[in-house]
Amino acid sequence: MSILVLADHHDGQLGSATAHVVAAAQQMAKESGGDIDVLVAGENVSAVAETAAQLDGVTRVRVADNAVYAHQLAEPLGDLLAALADDYSHVLASASTTGKNVLPRLAALKDVSQLSDIIGVASADTFQRPIYAGNAIATVQSADRLKVITVRTSAFEAVSESGSAAIETVDTVVDNALSAFVGEELAQSERPELGAAKVVISGGRGMGSGENFKLLDGIADKLGAAIGASRAAVDAGFVPNDMQVGQTGKIVAPELYIAVGISGAIQHLAGMKDSKVIVAINKDEEAPIFQIADYGLVADLFEALPELESKL
């Protein structure tokens, strides 16, 4: 049986998450031996399909291009996946807000469980996933005939783009009288996406105000970094929730993570502890963040940040 991967895409572009999900699918296919298909569902998504066809390991890209799939609303996408799922042993999506929104709907429609946010593949039916905010790792085995799985993308290396999969049209069109798209407000940023950035610099409650987050801008510009925040900074109203790194926000694993004015609450660590190199800048030398940081600098961030910016 084959594996179906639901593609992430936005504004006519394939999301970087999909290459990671295909990598997870390859690990499952190694044992089950099936093909890997990618489903691109949306409106005017032919360019997305062409990029998806280049992902290594993909056999077919199936394209459902119709106005009803625009904005990837959960109700029509769940119905579409349910109509296609019988040909597959596994349906995968990234643990993005789209994947998390849609896949449980598919699972319920097919009367199977879902495995959320897997970080490891032990075999085609056994997976590792974090529980309790990443403070424990569960190994779970599914005997369901269809395995519905969301994948934590930072746990799998992306496949490269040297393939040339066949592109096929899916004619299935479902009705949606339940939900309608009204609007979208996306943060406009020249910077890389948090989940995909090679360098992330995050501020915590120690930043003191939203205004002070500007101190991170210059450093982020020099390093090509995305800017994140701890939940404490979000709860204090300094920055919007979509900047949050942590179990209840984004899970990141960049090459370099710089935590500024962040004490290191468990829930924040769960979102960044798999980063390759961690730097902590905090004036409290007892802050728990120093216990996991590769390089700790005990300093007043209001002095250290301008100096760091000038020396990069």
Partner: protein, 254 residues
């Protein structure tokens, strides 16, 4: 309109968890339990809708062991009018998975016919983030997940959702299912007189068998381990030293 709000009893979010020595599960003996934080936000939103005159009745429901009635009493103290406990004590408590919970809630929805069901987006024990979406699929209702704003406009529900990179607003037909994200509201604390009053509010109990729902799952928990500990590194004395280390030792900047 009638609102159904689902709550879950979980480990208190301040408690550091321990894995059992035999790696069979997380050790919950003598651990402080509480209402799941996202469920607190769900209760708060339902109560605010009632205070604004949008909702006429708020019914709290939980699926869990007998002790989960504590969390229902909390919901009642916060402003819910009555509560329903689906007692799973006969089953192995923690193993009632999201799909089974969604099936049980589906029965409650059929019975109660609420116009709006509000749930937390995920529970902080299993971190599944599934139940609301599954309930929506089983009941054939629309879903507004990860909500940061909920507005009733005529026969529609306008939900602003926290999505990767920003916000999305959708219009849903009613009845609908909503799951809460952090910024929807800031939950209140229960006041002592309300806690006393909550003891007298009605609380009904049902079992999965009475509702005709099979809670067994095909997913087996093989083992639970502590995550690999990350070793701490060194302290640097200055910004210069930090930049030097990142360039020449870690080689993550150039």
């Amino acid at each position: 309109m009638k609102i159904l709000v689902a709550v879950k009893r979980v480990i208190d979010y301040n408690v550091k968890i321990r894995v059992k020595p035999d790696n069979s599960d997380v050790d919950l003996t003598n651990v402080k339990m509480a209402m799941n934080p996202f469920c607190e936000i769900a209760v708060e939103e339902a109560v605010r809708l009632k205070e604004r005159g949008v909702a006429s009745e708020v019914v709290a429901v939980t699926v869990g062991p007998k002790a989960a009635q504590e969390q229902l009493r909390t919901a009642l103290a916060l402003g819910a009018d009555r509560a329903i406990h689906i007692n799973t004590s006969a089953e192995t408590d923690e193993k009632v998975e999201s799909l089974a919970v969604a099936k049980l809630l589906q029965k409650v929805v059929e019975e109660e016919q609420p116009q709006l069901v509000i749930l937390g987006k995920q529970a902080i024990d299993t971190d599944n983030n599934q139940t609301g979406q599954m309930l929506a699929a089983l009941t054939g209702l629309p879903q507004g997940t990860f909500a940061s704003e909920v507005k009733v406009e005529g026969d529609k529900l306008q939900v602003t959702r926290e999505i990767d990179g920003g916000l999305q607003t959708v219009a849903l037909s009613l009845p609908a299912i909503v799951t809460t994200d952090l910024r929807l509201n800031e939950p209140r604390y229960a006041k002592l007189p309300d806690i006393m009053k909550a003891k007298k509010k009605p609380l009904a109990t049902q079992t999965p068998a009475e509702l005709g729902v099979e809670v067994a799952s095909k997913v087996t928990l093989l083992k639970v381990e502590s995550p690999a500990e990350r070793q701490g590194g060194i302290k640097v004395g200055s910004v210069d030293e930090l930049v030097e280390k990142l360039k020449n030792e870690a080689k993550v900047i150039s």
